[in-house]
């Protein structure tokens, strides 16, 4: 396999190259997806553009009063270990720490995980639980796309041929929010999710009163998606175990999983219910703990 290797030194150079090459240049971040596709000849590339030198896209930063911004080149390992992420978005840290194995996490980037647009992308559900905005940059300017509008299908996104994902902005969610991400695989590492479910619960003052609930699922549809009807079951409700059960049932109805080598459709549907219940209970417990910590 022969291809031209492009090694821009900074973002503006990269964007100029992308403008010139368009579809012909595939973007290399960590390489854990791209190189496998190239080796297996599932993808042909005239040129590969390595972002390795773009240090400016490797940062995690708190923007006061607004939220957290992650450069697209932050690795899963760095995200999982970041006190900023762990403190504010533990579900994202959990997701990043379950991607592949340590070796993969050291290379693979959160931005690459999103742009690869696998239905099983672990970083996607936790971001879907927030109103995360993706900054897509091109030589002519930038646009911010809400994460829920980013994915179009397996390996398909709204990224234009001249665009690069620059960063991910996660708005701060004030108050008593608890969130978690649960991944089910067939073994403990180096595994793609059979099902992944993230749940965020926002309490409304009282321990029992849910202000907002969000449910996001991976590996259950052509794209990672929110279970909006499932969320509706819990939103603005007084918490009851039957409601959690019902939300899980409804969430499963919103999924359209396939049968593949990792698991059958019926197992996946059952597992959405199981993981949804577990994640909701854990998210609730985390939200409830926030008050206790705050009142100390």
């Amino acid at each position: 396999m022969r291809f031209e290797l492009l090694q821009p030194k900074n973002l503006s150079e990269a964007l100029e190259m992308k403008k010139a090459y368009g579809e012909r240049a595939k973007v290399l971040a960590g390489g854990t997806d791209l190189l496998v596709l190239l080796k297996d000849r599932k993808l042909k590339a005239e040129a590969v553009m390595s972002l390795r030198r773009l240090r400016e896209l490797n940062f995690i930063r708190v923007e006061d009063g607004k939220g957290v911004r992650l450069g697209a080149l932050v690795t899963h390992g760095d995200a999982a270990a970041s006190p900023i992420i762990q403190g504010r978005f533990p579900d994202l840290a959990e997701a990043c720490s379950q991607v592949g194995a340590v070796q993969i996490q050291n290379l693979a980037t959160v931005g690459g995980n999103l742009c690869n647009a696998s239905p099983a992308a672990d970083a996607a559900p936790p971001l879907l639980l927030t109103d995360a905005l993706l900054t897509l940059a091109s030589a002519t300017g930038e646009r911010a796309v809400p994460i829920q509008d980013f994915f179009l299908g397996p390996r398909q996104t709204v990224l234009r041929a001249d665009e690069i994902l620059k960063d991910i902005f996660i708005p701060e969610v004030p108050g008593r929010r608890g969130a978690t991400y649960l991944k089910l695989g067939r073994r403990q590492a180096m595994e793609i999710a059979i099902v992944g479910v993230g749940v965020a619960i926002h309490l409304n003052g009282s321990d029992q009163q849910i202000a907002d609930c969000r449910i996001a699922m991976g590996s259950v549809a052509p794209i990672p998606l929110r279970a909006r009807r499932g969320e509706q079951v819990l939103r603005s409700q007084t918490i009851k175990d039957e409601l959690i059960e019902e939300a899980a049932e409804v969430a499963a109805e919103e999924a359209s999983p396939i049968s593949d080598v990792r698991g059958s459709r019926s197992y996946r549907l059952d597992m959405i219910r199981v993981l949804c219940r577990r994640a909701a209970r854990e998210a609730l417990a985390r939200a409830q703990r926030k008050k206790q910590e705050g009142s100390k």
């Binding site: 194995a101 073994r187 403990q188 080598v261 197992y267 597992m271 199981v274």
Partner: protein, 757 residues
């Protein structure tokens, strides 16, 4: 009997450890020769088809292509197989599985060869095919292999099966299903071949049997074996999968036709798609016991899916059926085992060789029977365990080194210590304890196994051992060095073991069947002992004393105040070297083809394993909290090697138990390690304990015997019993994926609901 040994029985790192850790070890793919060609194999996309024509001209015209070869280019015999040579090296007229080799392309680069591969035009006439072995047994099934789909039928017949079940107070029976399993060695198949000026052939390869490489390459090229020399390079695991030298034949054919060095290295997907697997089994088994818990009869039908070729199927099936009664005495036995052809990837040898499958069925039924009889599972096992007076399924009685009852007694203590942990089960989980046992004859069962060693003592007090059992990474070279060093009174680092060169090392048959320690260990020891006798005799003459008064140590001989270096002793006797040859051929009788009765192994290895598992009731996922592997090894030659082997075997068995399953759609469906799941370091049980029982084997070298497959044999059985115990439903199919266990839990839930309503 307690003898103080200097070298054997001591833990010491393997002689190859440092070079491997430092990345200095030379594997075949590290080699490269000037003008070397890269060879790619065109494989059938169809499970069964007739080849009408092959057009190679377009491929031949591609840039960088030196040769495109098909069956008609083979000068000698176009057949291969470790035991039964029923597979063509390149298919001439029929392909029998998706992955069967059809043509070779040799290019200046691997990329050029890959591109040209796609330009070969094969005109196939697709034929009806069959994947399921039970369907293949039906009268109108497509014929997967000439001569019919039953490749082999092996039997065990003893006693009166009707009368046996007549005496039974409880009878249990079930159908058990086991997966097709991949060896997943870290180094896929690879070979490099070149010709010298005389036209002699040199092969460097990753192999379990260098001499079979030689035999097959010579037969294919119509050359005398003396003109082929094979050097096994450092080999990254074999586990039974590197017996048949297909890659070696492909490289050799290209080298022969082009006169240029040629290399074949399989990528992982090619290894998964084309290379041999462990047989998947369908086992129908019925077991009876009387009121006192004495087993009275076993009736078993074992159907092994051997795939497109029989290559090793007959031997695997023979091993299974002769081990059908496990570690128990069962007076009445009727067992029929079949190797059945289907249009799937051929199955051959794999660590376990038909025993783990049978152990899973038998040990599961033992637990069921214990339940019916109201006995503890270990108690039922104890009441039927083999000892020095009772015969196994082949009628063989082992006069020594059969510590099954001692192991079961120890197991009882361990199980008692685990029981309190059952009470600590977290909500939403189920815990269970399981026990599994296994027995294994060491060496080939279907025929006698001989090993030959040549040991040379040099005047500087160093020694060379030449023996044909190659080391695949399991540590046998280290143990052979220990054996020679012990016998010759040398330090291990003064002994060099050469097992990897057909020009130096005598043919000992393959490194397989847990045979190397027992067979070659003896051959090396006997040869070294002969040298020692000669040296002591020479020294006794010098010192004017009896030979048994002479001490031989560190390259010198001594008697009281007199001493001589070996160099001096050799010099006085015009000797430059002392070389001796010895063999070991255990006295065995192969199983009778009609009854399975005989004395097929020189010695047996026994294993008792215990697992404490926790099952997630929601997802069905199984977690192993504690695992105890108890193995009987005779005496340990090197405790470090023993422990490493037992860890490896146990984890390999864990894959068979929990996650590994080669699936077939047209050919192998899961052809990557992202879809075929072997356990990772994170899947190792939270606590893994290895316990070695040392009960010397009188016919083994320094009391040792083989055990390396045994550490895998009972894992599937043990885990299935533990999971069944946890969930209250009998598991009858491996691997126990979360999805399968979830289904069992659901069915149990529905059954309970039905009972309540």
């Amino acid at each position: 009997m307690s003898v103080a040994y200097q070298v054997v029985g001591k833990p010491m790192p393997r002689t190859d450890a440092q070079s491997k850790v430092l990345g200095q070890a030379q594997y075949t793919d590290d080699l490269s020769l000037p003008r070397m060609l890269f060879v790619k194999v065109l494989r059938s996309p169809h499970p069964h088809a007739r080849i009408r024509a092959i057009k190679t001209s377009a491929a031949q015209k591609q840039p960088g292509i030196v040769a495109v070869l098909t069956a008609k280019d083979i000068p000698g015999e176009n057949s291969m197989g470790p035991i039964i040579k029923d597979q063509q090296i390149l298919c001439a007229d029929l392909v029998r599985y998706a992955g069967d080799a059809v043509a070779l392309v040799a290019g200046e680069t691997e990329q050029a060869a890959e591109v040209a591969l796609e330009r070969i035009e094969v005109d196939y006439e697709e034929l009806p095919f069959v994947f399921d072995p039970l369907k293949a047994l039906e009268p109108d099934a497509p014929v997967a292999h000439e001569g019919g789909n039953i490749g082999t039928h092996m039997k065990v017949r003893r006693g009166d099966i009707e009368a046996g079940f007549g005496q039974a107070a409880a009878v249990v029976e079930a159908r058990f299903i086991t997966p097709r399993v991949e060896h997943a060695y870290i180094e896929p198949e690879v070979a490099l071949v070149s010709l010298d000026a005389q036209g002699d052939v040199s092969v460097w390869s990753s192999t379990q049997y260098a001499h079979l490489d030689r035999e097959e390459v010579a037969r294919m090229l119509a050359l005398p074996q003396s003109r082929v020399r094979v050097r096994q390079m450092v080999t990254g695991g074999g586990f039974g999968g590197k017996l048949n030298p297909h890659a070696q034949c492909y490289a050799a054919l290209v080298a022969w036709k082009t006169g240029r060095p040629a290399k074949v290295h399989y990528h992982r997907d090619e290894s998964l798609i084309a290379s041999y697997k462990a047989h998947p089994y369908v086992i129908d088994m019925k077991l009876g016991a009387d009121r006192e818990g004495r087993l009275t009869a076993i009736d078993a039908r074992l159907v092994g899916n051997t795939g497109a070729y029989l290559c090793q199927g007959r031997a695997v099936i023979t091993k299974s059926v002769t081990h059908v009664s496990g570690v128990y005495y069962i007076p009445n036995i009727k067992a029929d085992a079949y190797a059945v052809h289907t249009n799937t990837v051929p199955c051959g040898a794999m660590r376990g060789y038909g025993v783990p499958q049978v152990a899973f069925a038998l040990e599961s039924l033992i637990d069921e029977l214990a339940d019916r009889l109201g006995l503890e599972p270990l108690e039922l096992r104890m009441r039927n365990a083999l000892d020095t007076t009772l015969p196994n399924a082949t009628g063989q009685i082992m006069p020594a080194s059969i510590p099954v009852k001692e192991m079961l007694a120890r197991a009882k203590t361990s199980v008692e210590s685990l029981r309190p942990l059952l009470k600590e089960t977290p909500p939403g989980r189920k815990r269970g304890i399981g026990v599994g046992c296994s027995s294994r004859g060491i060496g080939s069962i279907r025929k006698a196994s001989r090993s030959t060693a040549v040991v040379s003592l040099h005047p500087d007090g160093s020694a060379t051992v030449a023996c044909g059992h190659v080391d695949l990474g399991q540590g046998s070279d280290t143990m052979m060095a220990q054996v020679a060093a012990e016998e010759l009174g040398l330090d291990v680092d003064r002994v060099r073991v050469i097992t990897n060169d057909t020009a130096i090392s005598p043919d000992c048959e393959s490194t397989s069947a847990s045979r190397v320690t027992y067979l070659s260990g003896n051959a090396v020891r006997f040869a070294a002992a002969k040298i020692k006798t000669r040296v002591l005799d020479l020294a006794a003459r010098e010192f004017d004393c009896a030979a048994d008064e002479v001490k031989m140590r560190n390259g010198a001989v001594a008697h009281r105040e007199q001493g001589l270096s070996l160099a001096a002793l050799f010099g006085k006797n015009t000797m430059h070297i002392i070389t001796e040859v010895a063999e070991h051929l255990p006295a065995t009788t192969p199983p009778d083809p009609e009854t399975g009765q005989g004395k097929p192994a020189g010695t047996y290895n026994f294993n008792v394993h215990i697992a404490l598992v926790e099952v997630d009731e929601g997802t069905g996922k199984v977690e192993t909290l504690k695992y105890l592997a108890m193995g009987d090894v005779g005496k340990m030659l090197n405790p470090m090697v023993v422990e490493g082997q037992m860890h490896g075997g146990m984890m390999m068995g864990m894959g068979f138990a929990l996650s590994e399953e080669v699936k077939i759609d047209c050919g192998v469906a899961n052809s990557t390690f992202a879809t075929y799941l072997i356990p990772t370091a994170c899947d190792v049980p939270r606590e893994l304990i290895v316990d070695v029982i040392e009960d010397a084997e009188p016919t083994g070298p320094f009391g040792a015997k083989g055990f390396s497959e045994g550490s895998l044999d009972p894992v599937g059985a043990t885990m299935a019993n533990a999971v069944s115990n946890a969930i209250g439903v009998r598991v009858t199919q491996l691997p126990m994926t979360g999805e399968r266990i979830h289904q069992l839990l659901r069915r149990r839930g529905e059954a309970v609901l039905k009972a309540v309503n």
